[in-house]
């Protein structure tokens, strides 16, 4: 089933205007954040869709004022796939968690939170997953600036390695 057909099915079930087709390299179905969870439950449970496998959940930083979460779905039963796109504001990026729909989404959401700073209300354990807990900022944001030092380690090399020639005397016998 194609993205346009699925967007029409979602509209029929959840009301016109819920889903729209976002044209890209592969057509995607765009959904507003506040309708995401019910749409995902429908996509998972409807007999004609049966998206039982969430393959990937990732995030996009789209300056100056948008962020997006992209969810790749696969139906292992009906052998079709779908890309969902949820846009949110860049000021306070927040997308409801789909961990309750596909439990595997939990750690994907933690990664998007870690690197892009998107909030996922409903996620049971929204902590950093890759970076240390003490990290400041979200490094995959386009305007991320590295701090001068981390754990007292400078983040920049002031000079190249100073090779001291002859610091080691020639090997002795033995």
């Amino acid at each position: 089933m194609e993205a346009a057909d699925i967007a029409r099915l979602i509209d029929e079930r959840l009301g016109a205007g819920t889903a729209s087709v976002y044209e890209d390299l592969e057509p995607q179905v765009a959904i507003a954040p506040e309708r995401l969870v019910e749409a995902c439950l429908y996509l998972r449970d409807a007999q004609e869709l049966r998206f039982d496998y969430m393959r990937c959940l990732t995030g996009l930083d789209l300056p100056p004022d948008a962020m997006a979460v992209v969810i790749h779905l696969v139906s292992t039963v009906l052998k079709h796939r779908l890309i969902l796109r949820v846009e949110t504001s860049r000021e306070r990026p927040s997308v409801p968690s789909v961990e309750g729909v596909w439990p595997g989404a939990g750690w994907f959401e933690r990664e998007v939170f870690d690197l892009l700073g998107v909030d996922f209300p409903g996620n049971r354990d929204l902590r950093r997953i890759l970076l240390p807990d003490e990290w400041i900022g979200h490094p995959l944001r386009k305007d991320y600036r590295e701090s001068r030092a981390f754990f007292n380690i400078p983040t920049r090399r002031a000079e190249s390695i100073r090779v001291v020639h002859g610091s080691v005397p020639p090997a002795e016998e033995g």
Binding site: L131, P132, P139, Y144, E146, F150, F151, N152, I153, P154, T155, R156, R157, S160, I161, V163, V164, S167, V168, P169, P170, A171, E172, G174
Partner: protein
């Protein structure tokens, strides 16, 4: 004499009370001590990236570190040498520094490969340390991406040279016990 040993010398006897005194008097013993230390250079298995594969290969039968008395240890507490084989992230640096601090003096560090030297290929990453000498003192840098086993062996033999050149009789500027390095 009470408990001290007398050995003969050209201008009479040398009284040996403490080991330090003995070392102060005879450079032959110093050399013998360094010789035995450099031929039991136990290195800590610490591999964070592809350099670790070359490290394993260097311990294998072709390069055969065993013939130099170099064997790997799985704990820093039994190791003399720490080889940073691979990329170090800030998250790992905290752990690596803790492991380094667990090693007993005298201890030595090799920065193996471009990543450990300067961050290498990944130096533009927000997560990678731009050279391990930013958080531990390094004795030998080995260039390469990754260095061949021959290069690592050369670096380890450089550490042997450092050990052989150490003087036990010289007081260390930091006031601690052990050999002064000729760096």
């Amino acid at each position: 004499m009470t408990g001290a040993t007398r050995i003969g010398g050209p201008d009479g006897a040398i009284v040996l009370g403490r080991v330090e005194e003995m070392l102060r008097q005879t450079s032959v013993l110093e050399r013998a001590l360094n010789l035995s230390r450099k031929h039991s250079l136990w290195y800590y298995l610490f591999a964070t990236a592809c350099c670790g594969i070359e490290l394993m290969q260097t311990g294998g039968p072709r390069t055969d570190l065993d013939r130099f008395g170099m064997v790997f240890r799985s704990t820093p507490r039994q190791s003399d040498l720490m080889i940073f084989a691979g990329t170090i992230t800030y998250k790992m640096a905290r752990v690596a520094r803790l492991l380094y601090e667990q090693m007993a003096e005298p201890k030595y560090v090799i920065a193996m490969g471009s990543c450990a030297n300067t961050g290498g290929l990944f130096r533009d990453s927000y997560a990678v340390v731009k050279g391990i000498d930013l958080f531990v003192p390094v004795d030998v840098y080995i260039p390469g991406c990754p260095p061949r086993p021959e290069a690592l062996l050369e670096g380890m033999m450089r550490v042997q040279q450092i050990i052989q050149a150490e003087r036990w009789a010289v007081a260390r500027p930091d006031g601690r016990n052990g050999p002064e390095r000729s760096r």
